[in-house]
């Protein structure tokens, strides 16, 4: 098992090399000149040139690439021009914020979507089936920034139930000592319930926004997979053997329907991590999405490259985790066979 995981990780290296090359070229192909941007509108031609030399942008592309790879191999992901901080530090402090938000949204979506999909599949044509279809349609057709703004408008501005949508924690509370970087967990680790409740309150609206968006594919996939499995021959065998309806539904049908649901889950998860930029913007969430978009606007190469590389690494681990989970559910898919 361990050897297989290692083999899989080694197999991901060519992908990572590809990602490094492509992001390097893509950032260079972007319009805009970082040197001119940082010299500002008042910057003279000499000043721009000076910055360019300082950044090494006057060198040829292959030279720049070699320097970039050399730095990477030393664990140096470069510095952000905008903040002056090392990109690695910026990303590692921001990644937990994004992960916490994404995971909460995902868990929320799973908790709602899977029961909904199962109910819809066991009662096709019923009101719950129509509800499932309605939620699915609404979920995919409403863009996240719109639902985010709508939720903030209703629950913060009109009703005043939610705290102001500004970041991960109320400014009067101090963030818990960093262990995992997840405020919900870190606050519990030090037993600070106030901070836990505060962080949860800030988290609810953006997490619901994300959940609404991924609810749709999850509920639809659960429903479709369950419908397919429920009409399978082995379900008839189980029913003919007189097994309890709950055993048939969960032990027999749902476990078999889990594979496509897990595939969808992996897809929406990786999709969310990168694309919750808009939600992070709406709720002033200090995550990597908003960080990357700011860097992109400023033609700030190092953070963009760092962001893409981080995402690539996450994808590799995510796919590995999903493959291992497949094997746990389906013996035909055990990866060490």
């Amino acid at each position: 098992m361990l050897a297989t995981i290692l083999k899989r990780l080694l197999g991901a290296i060519p992908n990572l090399i590809g990602v490094i090359v492509v992001t390097f070229l893509l950032t260079r192909a972007l319009p805009g000149d970082p040197a001119a941007f940082f010299a500002g509108p008042a910057g003279t031609a000499e000043a721009v040139e000076e910055i360019r030399v300082k950044l090494g942008l006057n060198k040829s592309l292959p030279e720049q690439f070699l320097l970039y790879v050399r730095d990477l191999s030393r664990g140096d992901w470069g510095n952000s021009l905008a903040t002056g901080q090392s990109v690695l530090t910026e990303l590692t402090t921001r990644l937990p914020a994004s992960l916490e938000l994404t995971l909460c949204g995902l868990v929320l979506a799973v908790v709602i979507a899977i029961p909904l999909g199962i109910l819809a599949a066991t009662r096709p044509g019923s009101w719950i089936d129509h509800l499932c279809r309605g939620i699915a349609t609404a979920g995919v057709s409403l863009p996240t920034f719109f639902t985010g703004l709508l939720l903030a408008y209703i629950f913060y501005f009109l009703l005043g139930w939610a705290p102001s949508p500004l970041g991960r924690l109320d400014p009067y509370l101090s963030s818990p000592p960093t262990v995992t970087g997840f405020y919900l967990i870190d606050s519990l680790l030090v037993g600070d319930l106030d901070v836990f409740v505060g962080a949860a309150k800030q988290l609810i609206l953006p997490a619901v926004t994300l959940a609404l968006f991924v609810l749709a594919p999850l509920a639809r996939m659960t429903r479709a997979a369950m419908l397919g499995v429920l009409s399978a021959d082995f379900i008839r065998t189980a029913r003919a053997a007189g097994l309890a309806p709950t055993t048939v539904l969960f032990t027999y049908a749902f476990r078999n329907a889990l594979l496509p649901v897990m595939t969808t889950l992996g897809m929406v998860f990786s999709f969310l991590l990168g694309s919750n930029v808009l939600v992070e913007k709406v709720f002033a969430w200090p995550g990597i999405g908003s960080f990357a978009i700011e860097a992109l606007v400023a033609s700030d190469y190092a953070p963009v490259q760092g962001f893409v590389l981080t995402m690539a690494l996450l994808y590799v681990f995510l796919n590995l985790a999903i493959d291992i989970a497949y094997g746990l559910v389906d013996p035909r898919m055990r990866i060490d066979q």
Binding site: A241, G242, T251, R255, R332
Partner: protein
């Protein structure tokens, strides 16, 4: 008294394109420990009937008339609650295509345990021991090791043995075998049929064999019921039906079955197809439109024609006279 008695059962499917009258006025009887072969071409309603007996028919199916009695109990009473209590314990069923009829991601031993746990008080080690015993009973070699196998690791014949083990785990009094050898190769077919017969004899279990293979039914069953388009057209002791078939359909079906040295050119195909069961103008005899002996009175309700002892056909113009 018979173990299983289906009395004037009618069943229809409500579909978007109309009502399908899948079973009409079907009656059959199976004594304790007996074996009955339900034969007919695909689509004649054999499987629908067996699903109805177990109460696992499609949600769109509705039983519109008749009764199903098992050991004196009315299985349809209380919205089928009587049936639910017996299903898997007193009545069991095995299916065709055994490789897809088992849960693909559950160890076969666990699938047997699921049934035992549901119907018995066995738990823990004794449960596992009994599951292994069930595997041994269906002559699966090395049952301790096979307990942990998944269906995809077993051959089709082995999977069918596992399914039989699941069906027989609680020692049912009736086994319904729906085309149990379809999807298996010929040598495995013979072994599976022998196994079903031997276990039936050992445990005094009645068997309802559903098949389109008349040769198989002849070898295996004491009695036959011939189905056509949702009707039982003829029923009687196997040899009597084969020797003196009275209904034209049964007669043609027996002629279409190879026996011994028959050559292909001597086998007769039955012309035409099953009628569309959604039609509202179906004649009383649903075979009439394919029948060479058709007459005007075939449109009026069918008479019961007693061919011999326990041998009955439903036809206005039975072929009795020429047959012998």
């Amino acid at each position: 008294m018979s173990l299983l008695a289906v009395e004037n059962l009618s069943l229809e499917f409500r579909t978007r394109s109309g009502i399908v009258r899948a079973l009409e006025n079907v009656s059959l009887e199976l004594p304790e420990g007996g074996s009955l072969g339900l034969v007919g071409e695909s689509g004649s309603g054999k499987s629908v009937l067996s699903f109805a007996i177990l109460g696992i028919q499609d949600a769109a199916a509705r039983i519109t008339a008749g009764r199903i009695r098992f050991a004196g109990q009315d299985l349809l009473a209380n919205e089928g609650r009587a049936m639910k209590a017996l299903r898997g314990r007193e009545l069991a069923m095995i299916f065709q295509n055994p490789r897809v009829a088992l849960n693909p991601i559950r160890q076969v031993g666990q699938q047997i345990e699921d049934v035992l746990r549901r119907h018995t008080d066995l738990r823990g080690k004794t449960l596992r021991a009994r599951a292994i015993e069930c595997l041994a009973e269906v002559r699966i070699p090395d049952p301790e090791r096979r307990y942990a196998a998944y269906p995809f690791e077993l051959s089709g014949g082995m999977c069918q043995r596992v399914m039989i083990a699941i069906a027989l785990a609680c020692r049912p009094r009736l086994l319904i075998a729906d085309e149990p050898t379809t999807g298996l190769d010929v040598t495995t077919q013979a072994a599976i049929m022998r196994l079903i017969r031997d276990l039936g004899h050992e445990k005094g279990m009645a068997t309802l064999l559903i098949t389109h293979d008349l040769g198989l039914a002849r070898e295996f069953c004491d009695k036959l019921a011939v189905m056509h388009a949702g009707h039982i057209v003829e029923t009687g002791p196997t040899e009597a039906v084969f020797r003196t078939p009275a209904h034209p359909y049964a007669a043609q079906l027996t002629r279409a079955t190879p026996v011994g040295q028959d050559r292909l050119e001597n086998l007769a195909a039955i012309p035409g197809n099953l009628p569309d069961l959604r039609r509202t103008d179906l004649p009383a005899c649903r075979f009439a439109e394919r029948c060479e002996r058709r007459a005007d009175d075939c449109a009026i309700p069918l008479p019961r024609y007693e061919v011999g002892a326990g041998h009955t056909a439903f036809c206005h113009h039975p072929t009795r006279l020429e047959a012998a």
